[in-house]
Every structure is written in C-alpha cells, then in structure tokens.
Amino acid sequence: MLRPSTHRLLLLLPTATYRTAAFVEAARRLGVGLTVASERPSTFQHANPGGLVTLDLSDPDRAAAQARAFAREHPLQGVVGVDDDTAVVAAAIAGALGLRGNDVAAARAARDKHEQRTSLAAAGVAVPHFRLVRVDEDPRRLAAGVPYPCVLKPLRLAASRGVIRADTPEGFVAAFERVKRILEQAGCEKRDEASVEWHAYRSILVEDFVPGREVALEGLLVAGELRVLALFDKPDPLDGPYFEETIYVTPSRLPADEQRAVAACAERAAAALGLREGPVHAELRVNGSGPWLIELAARPIGGQCSGALRFEIRETGKGKEETLSLEEIVIRHALGMNLPALEREPQASGVMMIPVPGAGVLREVRGLDQARGQPLVEEIIITAHPGQELVPWPEGARYPGFIFARGRTPEAVEAALRAAHRQLQFVIASD
C-alpha cells in the first residue's frame, strides 16, 4: 500500500505513453507520494483528489496555472515529464512552483527541431546544414536548391515519424508531398487541443544527410553538468529512406576517445540549449569528422527501452548493493533526494524495438515461446494488442513490441536480440 512520505512528485503522464508502469513502479519503490497528471480525467479523480489531476498538457502556461492551484492544497516537491511535450510542461510547472527543472525556453528549444538546430549551430555544435521550408512552397523549386542526399523532417513528431531521406530532386518532391500528408494527419490528431503551435505542422526541416555510426546517449543533467548514464550503439545502419529504430546495445563498442567526444558534444549541446536539470536523451552520428548532434531531447529514453538499463549503487564499507531503474534516478533527482554515484550494471544489455512487419490489423503473434527461449533473452513485451492497426514508418510511430537481452558482451546481446526476432511471426490481416 502507499507509504507516507514527505516527498510528493507530480508525474506528467499523457494517456498514450508507454512509460506509465515504469514510473509508477519507481515512485512506489522510492516510497514517494505520487500525483499523476494526464490530459484526460481519470475516472478515480474525485476519489483520490491528491493523487490524480487533469492538466492541459497541450498548453504549458495553462498547465502551470492549474498545477499552482492544485499545489495550494497538495504541496509538490518535484515534477517530471516523460516525453518531449511534457518536458516543456514540466519546465513551466517547475518555474511556477519553484521546483528543480529547466527554463521553459530551453525545454522548448529542445522540443522543436528547427529551434534546436539554430541554437546548436550558433553555439558551434556540429549539426547538419539545415533550412526551414513551408509546406505551401513549391517542392520542385525547392528540390533544385538542396544538396543531396538530404533528409526531410517534421519539427515536432516523435519516433522519427515523417522523417524521409531524398537522394534526387524527384525523390525530394515525393518525400516532400509525403511529409506534408503526414503533417496534415498529425495536425488533425491535434485538432481538439486549444493551443497547438500550428507552425510546427506547416513547416519541414530539410538538412544534409550525415553518414556514420549512430549512437544514443542517456544522461542526467545536474546543475548543468552532464552525467553519462549509458551510451548505446545502434548497430543497424540508419541510412533511410525511413528511420525506424531497431536495436540499442550498451556498452558502446566505439573507442574510448570517441565515446568521450560524444559525451562532450552532448554536454555542449545541452548547455547551448540552456538545459541544466534532469534527463537527456541525445542521438549522435560519428564519422571521420567526429560526433554530430542529430537530436537532443530533455527527457529519458522513449518507449519501453529504459528496461535495458539498470544501475548499481555500492555503499562502500557496507557490502550492500542496490539496483535502481532509470526512472528511480529521474525521480530522485527531481525531488532533490540523495543521488549517489551510479554505475550501470557490469553486463552488456540491449533492446530491440520490434520493426513493424507490415501494414494491417494485428491478429496474433506466433513464436513467442521460441523467441523467449533464446539464450540471453530476458523479456519480450508485445505492446500491440490483437485488433490494433499496424502502420509502418514513416507514417507510423508505434512499435509492436520490445525484446530485451543481457549477456557478457554487446556482440552476444545483439546476436540474441536478432535470434529472438527471427522466431517471431506477426499475423496481420491486410484487408
């Protein structure tokens, strides 16, 4: 049952997030009081008015005012957002209530790909050359003026939704029209939100394609200093034309000096955006010119991928070890709780975001027992439910599930993830 605590955390959980179980369980393990805020009311809100609240997560200023009113009766000691949008809301609430967090301007700059590119380029952080175009411009004229290969990106969509590589002017025009349709669809999905920043759905970022190996850095900012929690390799080449992610494996197999350069690049990027507190998830490419910052988000890793991370606290002299999840670290930091030296577990670990196998309605998943029986595979979570429509990238943004493995080496973990995936068969009705 709930334990009394002097700490109360406001956890911003959109109803479509994958992150609910991990954060709710982390708060329980830490014994902190929890208030869950969502954009739609819980049916239990009147029964537990201190534990559940509805905030307008589409409008950070309004949400901050609502949180301020809530906090008069239920004092809050920390706030955590779990995705790009709620990171901005969390910053607004932190500012309004005097809690630990980032400036709203910094969180906004991290959320918007064009603002981010502009800030980073101005600060001398290596980013691809970019330009912003409007969806009502003539793509044929634009196609004549961009270098190839290039990448077209929506400003706000998550999980590489709508990100397309173009290698030729003809490819650019086709990609432009496709991204435009995706943005129209995404805008329709937001039509009920009062404060949508519509320019984000009427603009496309066009940038150089940067070749190289891609890595993801998971970190925590404490008073502006970056603590690297994990560096993941992404062993499947992300060369397009679409950028659906698959495997993350840590520790990275990059040479130590390149890993240090990656961390330094991410720290410079966070500073350039003005981020000072909380989790960051950065994606970088590494080639002969060094690390390039592709994206930095003021939130922890998305999906259920945090399950690949475990941290150990060693209490010197007591011989006692404690294991922490990424979510526990994020909550401890937000509440100003003791944050000891953290080390990721000694084992290699990895996660595969299961690729969407095709378009259609999911009927069943076969081969789960065989996949779970593969050596080193610890867990397979199928998040798509029977009857759910599966939409491939670039229109889609939902993985049907996640595979987790742990082992002695990153190579062994990667092989285990691939072996498990080969056992799975998704039965899809395409009509």
Partner: protein, 204 residues
Amino acid sequence: MNPAEIRITAEPIDTGRCKFVVSEPVHAGGARRFASPDEASGSPLAEAIFALPGADVAEVIVSGNLVTVVKRSPVPWQTVGKAVGEAIRAALAGAGPAVVPKPAAAATPGTDDDALYERVADLFESQVNPMVARHGGRVELIDVQDAVVMVRMAGGCQGCGMADVTLRQGIEAMLQQHVPDVKGVVDITDHAAGSNPYFAAAKK
C-alpha cells in the same frame, strides 16, 4: 497429463515479477497466494517454486491458469523462468493437486480475510466498478489472502496504458481510505491478451 503437452508462456512484468500463462488449469478453486515457504507447505507447485535455488522467491500467486511469481533475486527471468516452467509441469503431472485449497486455519491471526473480502467486494460493486465502467472497464475481485487483495482487470482496463495508474492511484488509494486493513493489491491480469484497451501507447 503429459507434461510435454503443457504450454507455458512467461510474461515478465518487471525484474521482480513474472506471470506464467499455462495451457492447463493449475488451480480451479479461486486464487491462492503464498508469501513464504511455510505457507507453501502441502502445495507441491508452490513448494517447488520457493525451493528454486538462487531465485529468492518472495511470493507465488496461483489462479486458474495463471501463476505469478515474485522474486527478490536479480537473476533474469530467462533463467528463473525455465525452472518455474519445469516446476509447473512436474506439479501438474503429479498424482495430487498442484495447489491445495486454502485451509481455514491458514489465515494470519488477527486478520479475517472473509470479512475483508466482503468489504472489498462491496467497495468494488458500489464504487470501483461504476467508475471504471465509464471507460468500458471492469475490475474483478479474485480473492483476499492475508489481507492482500488480488484483482483481475477486464474490458477497457485489460491492456490499457494507464492500468497501473488505475490500480495504484485509483483502486489502491480507495482501499486505503475505505478498507485500511488491506495490506496490498496484486494485479493478476493477463494484460497482453487485452484486445480493447481504453488507452493504447505510442512511443515517446
């Protein structure tokens, strides 16, 4: 029963908890929860799971064709799960029942699970289920054992992305307020089988 024909699917919830969905009924007489090797005595399946070396099992819950195991050890479910599967197969192949019905004397002195069950059932009927029904959901009270409430979610709650919020911030908070003698709530839902969740998740 031929053990080789028994199909078992492990569905880890997190590093400490895992549900095992068995193709055959394991225990038909409601739910049984075992919180120690002593409580498991007489039930071959629970005895075997508590005896697994290195797993440091803390709890075993058996209901219908579901076996939920809670462990303290960091040993991965990939390792422990195979041993649990063998224990389930061996127990089902045995001459007697895998799990014996709860003896009347098994209740912890000072608690009255039957009385708690009635109070929890009343709360579910009068308040909890009318609330979740607004989202097409239903919460079934499976049992109360040693003041721990076991529930199964259905309809819009089964597989819902906010099911943990409903469980912890809704149901558990209401139990704490209205039936404070309840010590905990365990969700034994097979959420992966939910076909109509009220909220479905998307990355980030």
